[in-house]
Amino acid sequence: MIRFDQVSKSYGRNRQVIDDLTLAIAEGEICMLVGPSGCGKTTSMKMINRLVEPDSGTVLVDGRPVNSVDPIKLRLNIGYVIQEIGLFPHMSVADNIATVPVELGWPKPRVRARVDDLLALVDLEPGLYRTKRPRELSGGQRQRVGIARALAGDPRIMLMDEPFGALDPLTRAKMQDEFLAIQEKIRKTIVFVTHDTDEALKMGDHIAVMRAGRLLQYGTPTEILRHPADTFVADLIGSRKGLKLLRLLDCGSLMRQGAAAADLPVLPARATAEQALSEMLRCGCRSVAVADASGVTLGRLDLDDLIDRVARDD
């Protein structure tokens, strides 16, 4: 668990970058820090691995103040991914990923095995990519390597500073989905900085909205969407809140179990309610069938249920 306890930081007399930040991030969750540039989200994140030291207050990891831990040891146990990725251009993909294991002094066979596991995890064929140089990769592939590199030492915490910010929209959406799938497996505590509210709503278990160094609201995506703390948060979320809420729900949890008419369009249980609505609009029907991965019908999702669920506040 990560905890910020009344943390403040200013550069010079007039620039207060973090103002009395108190925040608790639970184990195994993705916490999104979101807000406009200069709101202090990156600075807050860098306090966790001591790239920035607070003026006052404490940052705790697993109950221990980080300033009582040697920064090098601390960082070796915290994965770090940045927007610019920062792959080492003179090293192969494998050597890049091996950075932390090598610093930790792992024996070579173990490092090699770990590199191959991670390449497979981020969906890069080890035999094909191990020896490539970063410049031979596409933007998306580079960030995959960046993520694999951050995971190499099997840290419990990952810090991700706008990791998908430089990718084109299509690649970005794909990377978000893949990363969520990876997180299903690895269950790390992740602090994820973004200025993209949609990304925050999609990826976060919890979202911390920041502005001018202050925490405005901390809550789940649904809470933030339903009850924005003030007009700033409401503006940040933007319009079409109903559709955004639909995006947070999946068909599997909304459907009525049982049989469904054979002529209904079929969606996987993992599909979002937004996709279900879109399908209904497209085919002009008021229901869709929901099936599992092997195509077996699980149940039916009706338009009325969808509307009820979104309109109902719980």
């Binding site: 090098i72 960082r75 070796l76 940045i82 610019e84 003179h90 932390v100 610093e103």
Partner: protein, 238 residues
């Protein structure tokens, strides 16, 4: 890469052959008996050896001082001194090489040591400048990632900064060494020996053949070293 090596090898071979041919021509077909007595194979070989030794020693000294100085001046704690040091070395570079040699004589007397010291000072700037440029050119994001992942400053320097700056550092050494091969002719003026001896002697006895030999050999030597650096540049480019 092998293409590059092959062409460098061919170049080195050609320049060596040219140097041998030039010497052979003067030794076998001297202008007159005066030249015949002055220019012998062993003598030219000895002067070439002296010349190479002066260049090598001064260059190695310059590398051993300028590179660490550059590494130091790019650390946060020494940044404040960087402009002053670079300014000073820059000003030193504007002093004509002959004057540097002459000043060194004033301090150290005559001999090869004086020449080596003067050439060492002269070679500092290109190496220092390129070391600084190379290290400053390392991408900030790369450094941030390295530090953020828990590399110690010394490890960042060794595993990231130096390898990435190496092509530029090598380019600086290349400039310094090739320039020094030419400047080492001045060693002869302070009794330091080297191929400059041939130029001075040839000039004293008004024998153009000897002067051409004394000028041609350092030129070919510089070309050979330059070709060798082609390979080194390829190796460090990663």
């Amino acid at each position: 890469m092998t293409d590059r090596r092959l062409s460098a090898g061919l170049k080195v071979g050609a320049y060596l052959a040219a140097a041998v041919a030039l010497t052979l021509y003067v030794v076998e077909w001297p202008q007159d008996s005066l030249v015949a007595r002055l220019v012998t194979f062993p003598h030219v070989l000895a002067l070439t050896g002296q010349h190479l030794a002066i260049v090598a020693l001064s260059s190695v000294l310059a590398i051993l001082t300028a590179v660490p100085l550059g590494l130091m001046l790019t650390r946060d704690w020494a940044r404040q001194w960087t402009p002053r040091v670079v300014g000073f070395v820059n000003v030193c570079q504007t002093v004509p090489s002959l004057a540097v040699v002459a000043l060194a004589v004033g301090l150290l007397g005559i001999g090869a040591t004086t020449a080596i010291v003067a050439l060492w000072l002269y070679a500092l700037l290109p190496i220092l400048n390129n070391t600084l440029t190379g290290l400053d050119g390392v991408d900030a994001a790369t450094l941030q990632a390295a530090r953020g992942m828990g590399m110690r400053p010394g490890r960042v320097l060794r595993r990231i900064e130096v390898p990435l700056a190496l092509p530029l550092i090598v380019a600086g050494v290349r400039t310094a060494v090739t320039v020094n091969i030419g400047s080492a002719i001045l060693a002869a003026f302070v009794g330091g020996g080297g191929l400059g001896d041939l130029i001075i002697a040839g000039n004293n006895i008004s024998r153009v053949q000897v002067v051409v030999l004394g000028a041609g050999l350092p030129m070919l030597m510089a070309l050979i070293v330059d070709a060798l650096f082609d390979v080194a540049a390829e190796e460090t480019a990663g």
